[in-house]
């Protein structure tokens, strides 16, 4: 479906260097084991999909990567070094940006302000400079506005930049959320069901944007998605989870022909 939108050069940016390595991750909530001893890596420049039936632990995995959950066991190697236990905002400052399954935009702000919040990790003018709107604060505001405008142009949302987010449609909100994440210029971009609830046209747009981001900025992307057509077309490699365990890992073709994956999705006679 989306093959023709994927440029011929796609894949060139993919390297063999692991940007993030998850080693033997286990996550327990009391007696419930949400993730059971899962290891995989995300390579520099690739689009990595995480798929699996409902309740497989995909979102928990993303929450671990973005620092919202701390794994009960296992460790995360990020940019070659083990990542210590961090608060989520500290993880964000290391270059991890994400979008949310249920849109989590700041409804009281305009699109522009929402996308500008993505730049907060890059802005550090002091409170007095900000209060006086002089020097550093002012220059920072303008410099970051320029970067934000590039993202806004890229995602084609120029016409709504001054619109309060609350007035936008669902599809546009998803796009604004992507803009906010992109504005942070992340090393790794986590997308939690970027196409949930969209119609075919919106899905095609979103797929195009994801591929363009990967292609033009070389951003590494990890995404969760239920639409198999999209996953198979977009991603370079796929991890399949079921009941908190990893049951498949490889290129879309390998995964598609993996018997465990077929069983998990289609069910199997006992």
């Amino acid at each position: 479906m989306l093959d023709d939108t994927k440029p011929a050069s796609a894949g060139q940016t993919v390297t063999d260097i692991a940007l993030m390595e998850l080693q033997n991750i286990t996550l327990r909530f009391g007696g419930v084991v949400a993730i059971n001893d899962i290891s995989f890596d995300i390579r520099q420049g690739e689009v990595r999909a995480i798929i699996g039936p409902n309740g497989a632990g995909k979102s928990s995995m993303l929450n671990i990567i973005s620092g919202f959950y701390t794994p009960s066991e296992g460790q995360i190697l990020y940019k070659g070094a083990p990542r210590p236990a961090m608060r989520p905002y500290e993880v964000a400052r290391t270059g991890v940006a994400r979008t949310f399954q249920n849109i989590a935009l700041f409804e009281g702000m305009t699109v522009l302000d929402n996308v500008m919040t993505g730049r907060l990790t890059h802005m550090n003018a002091g409170i007095f400079s900000q209060a006086l709107w002089l020097g550093k604060a002012r220059n920072e505001e303008i410099a970051n506005r320029e970067i934000v405008e590039k993202v806004i142009d890229f995602l084609e949302i120029q016409n709504i930049r001054k619109t309060p987010v609350g007035r936008l449609s669902y599809g546009l909100k998803k796009r604004v959320e992507l803009a906010r994440a992109l504005a942070a210029e992340p090393s790794i971009l986590l997308l939690d069901e970027p196409m949930a609830g969209m119609n075919v046209e919106e899905k095609e747009d979103m797929s195009r944007f994801i591929l363009d981001v990967n292609d033009e900025f070389g951003t590494t992307i990890a995404l969760i998605e239920h639409d198999m057509g999209v996953v198979m077309d977009l991603s370079d490699r796929v991890v399949v989870m079921d009941y908190g365990k990893k049951i498949g890992d490889g290129t879309p073709d390998e995964v598609r022909n993996n018997q465990d994956v077929i069983d998990a999705y289609l069910g199997v006679a006992h």
Binding site: S66, G67, F68, R87, P88, Y89, A92, R93, A97, R98, F100, A104, L105, F106, E107, G108, M109, D113, M116, T117, G118, L120, T121, M123, A125, I127, Q130, A131, L132, W133, A137, E140, E141, I142, R145, E146, E149, R180, A181, A184
Partner: protein
């Protein structure tokens, strides 16, 4: 017709981020400032200064402080009056311990004390939110008023238990105390409130403002995009309490002239919360509109019947006032939860495209 943005093109982001991207807004503000700095002082009587101009400015400043915390950062507070009290008592202690101190410096420094106390009482906000936080700030309210009453050092062990503003001089002019002139006091209040408003506008439209609004709207998402919630909430408490503290010092030193501990009790907290809600949470302009309404309404109600020759007892006026304020709050919560400032915003939008509806 007059309010048109057509032809006002912006060619740089700097111009787009200017304080008044629309020319007419700048002109309107200029007119208001001329009135505030020149026309009112020339025309106003002692009565107008004391019942309208000075209290409106002080209440607006206090509401602005609360608005930073509740409207921008989303942390509900019911302890505003107590933080005002901290500012007032801190100012009183400073000018009595160090009589050589410039009164304006003392007023501005008194905010530092309330900021410290505000941060301390803001710490629960890291774990609790919404109504539960409101109850925690209510604890601050009760505790601090109790402290003002029991800690005799605060009011210099005088028999009455109240603080009395001494005559304070600056460049040979009395600015506070029984001998101070209302005109001078008005200018002091106006200058401080104007500067504070300017700083608040800058803070709320910049990085810090976006941090606060993000914390208010979706705190979990805010943390995941790199906002340190602790820092965001505590700076909100700090800035808010600073402003409220300065408002408290002005309240006693530039207006009331004396204060008992129970002046800073819950009714004052609620009064300021009403101003912020009626004016519009998350707006700077709204604080002024709210203060004009809440302070001005009783004055209008008190003078209008007499002017029209309608005989109404003053106690009746008081009752009508209370009823109207109550009705207005309910009216605004239902009709326009974003307050008077939102009404102004809608009027602006309509004016820009007038006479077309869309």
């Amino acid at each position: 017709m007059l309010y048109r943005t057509a032809g006002q093109f912006k060619t740089s982001y700097k111009a787009d981020q200017a304080l008044f991207p629309v020319k007419q807004d700048a002109i309107l503000l200029g007119v208001i400032l001329v009135f505030a700095w020149v026309v009112f002082p020339l025309a106003a009587s002692e009565f107008t200064f004391q019942t309208l101009l000075i209290p409106i400015l002080i209440y607006a400043l206090a509401a602005m402080g609360l608005n930073i915390l509740t409207g921008y950062a989303g942390q509900l507070s019911l302890g505003t009056a107590a933080f005002m009290g901290v500012g007032a008592y801190a100012c009183y202690k400073m000018v009595t311990l160090m009589p050589w101190m410039n009164p304006i410096v003392a007023i501005l420094l008194s905010g530092v004390f309330s900021a410290g106390v505000g941060v301390a009482f803001g710490i629960p906000s890291l774990r609790i939110k919404g109504f539960y936080l409101a109850i925690a700030t209510l604890a601050a309210q009760f505790f601090l008023v109790w402290l003002f009453e029991k800690w005799a050092w605060l009011y210099n062990y005088n028999a009455s238990g109240a603080i009395q503003v001494p005559n304070l001089e600056m460049f040979g002019v009395y600015v506070a105390g029984p001998q101070a002139d209302s005109l001078v006091q008005y200018y002091v209040v106006l200058a401080i409130v104007s500067v504070m408003t300017m700083l608040c506008i800058n803070l709320t439209r910049g990085t810090l403002g976006r941090t606060w609004k993000a914390t208010r709207d979706v705190d979990i998402a805010a943390e995941l995009i790199g906002i340190n919630l602790m820092k965001s909430k505590l700076t909100a408490f700090m800035v808010s309490s600073y402003i409220v503290g300065v408002a408290g010092a002005l309240f006693v030193f530039m207006w009331r002239g004396a204060a008992e501990p129970n002046l800073f009790d819950i009714p004052l907290s609620f009064r300021i919360l009403f101003i912020a809600i009626i004016g519009g949470l998350g707006s700077i302009l709204g604080n002024y509109l709210g203060a004009i309404l809440i302070v001005g309404l009783p004055v209008v109600l008190g003078t209008l019947p007499a002017a029209l020759g309608v005989p109404i007892a003053s106690s009746m006026v008081e009752h009508i006032n209370v009823m109207m304020v109550g009705a207005l709050i309910i009216f605004f919560l239902i009709i326009e939860p974003h307050g008077l400032a939102q009404l102004w915003r809608l009027i602006r939008e309509k004016l820009i495209i007038w006479p077309f509806p869309h």
